[in-house]
Symmetry: C2
Amino acid sequence: MPYSYETDGAAIYRQSFATIRAEADLGRFTPDEEQVAVRMIHAAGMVGLERHIRFSPGFVAAARAALEAGRPILCDARMVSEGVTRPRLPSDNAVICTLHEDGVRDMAQEMANTRSAAALELWRPHLSGALVAIGNAPTALFHLLNMLEDPDCPRPAAIIGCPVGFVGAMESKDALWAAQPVPCCIVEGRLGGSAITVAAINAIASRAE
Amino acid sequence: MPYSYETDGAAIYRQSFATIRAEADLGRFTPDEEQVAVRMIHAAGMVGLERHIRFSPGFVAAARAALEAGRPILCDARMVSEGVTRPRLPSDNAVICTLHEDGVRDMAQEMANTRSAAALELWRPHLSGALVAIGNAPTALFHLLNMLEDPDCPRPAAIIGCPVGFVGAMESKDALWAAQPVPCCIVEGRLGGSAITVAAINAIASRAE
C-alpha cells in the first residue's frame, strides 16, 4: 500500500473543523450559528464562504426546535434529501423530496414553470412547522415565496435558502432575505448548492461534531 | 404573484452557460473539455473554478466511450449517484453506489478505514472499463489508488477525482494526477464535491446543453 493517509473518520472531521476555525472569520456568528457555518464551509471546501452566509435572528433555534418537535425536512432535490445523515436527526424526522412524484411534470406544464417549482405544491400538507431546505433551484425558492404570499398557506418553521447558480439564485435569495416570512438562512450571491444545504441541515440536527 | 422570474428551464440553462462562457477563462481546454468544465462551473456557481480543473489527455473521449459501451458509473456517495440525470445516459448505464450495502460497516472496521473506502471493495466486479466518480471522500480516492497498485485489479476506463475538503482532498487528487493509472479529471486543492462531480458525469454522458 504505497499511499498512506488519515483513515479515521473522527480524526478527519476534527482536523478539518480545526483548520476551518483557524482560517475562517467567524467572529460575527453566535455560537449556534458558528457550528452551522463551520459545517457549511467544510462541505464547500472553501474558507471565505462565511462572508456570504446570513442567518436571521433566531434561525438556528427555530430550525432545531422544528426537528426536535418531529417536523419534516422538505427538500427541493434528491441530492439534498439523500445527503441528510439520518442518525443525526433528533426525532427520526421525515425527509421529503417531491420532485419525482407522479404528476409533477404535468403540473409544471400547466403552471408554465419548472418541475422544481411545481413539486412544492405537493409540500402543502407537510409545510406547517417544517424545516424547508432549498439547495438547488432558484425557481423553487421564488415559488415558495409566492406561495407564502397567500396568508392561508401553512408556514414552515424556518427556511434554508441556498439555491446555486447564475440565473435567479442571487435574486431569489435576496428576495427571501428582504421578505423573511419566517426565520431563514441564506448564502448570498451565486454560491450555494446541495452540499452546503445538507451541511446546514446536519449541523442543525445535532451539535455533535 | 409578486415575484416574477425566469421559469423556462431551457432558457435558464442557456443564459447560465452564456454567462459562464463570457466570464470564465476557458481557452486552454479542448472543445470536449470545455463543455465539461462549463457544466462543472455551473454546478459550483463559481467562475474561477476552471483554474483548478485538470483533464489528462483523452479523458473525455475515454469516459464517453465507456458510457457508450454500456459500462457502469461507480460513485462513492449517494449524493453523486442521485444527481446523475438518467435520460442523458447513452446506454441506460447502471449507476452504482455501494456505500450503504450490507457488510460495508464491518469491512471498514476490519480494514481500519472509513466506510467510504471500504465500500470500494464491492466495486471490483463492476470496475473493468467503468467510469469512476469520486465526489466526496478523499479516503475513497486514496483506497482506489492503492487497489490499482495491484496489477490484478481490474482497470476502470476513466476516473473523475473530485473529493472535497480540508484533510486528504488535495493530497489524494495530487496523488491521482501524479500516478494517472487511467485517464482522469481532477479539481485541484480543497474544492470539489458531489455537485461538481455530477456535473462532469452529466456533461460526459451527453453533449446536449
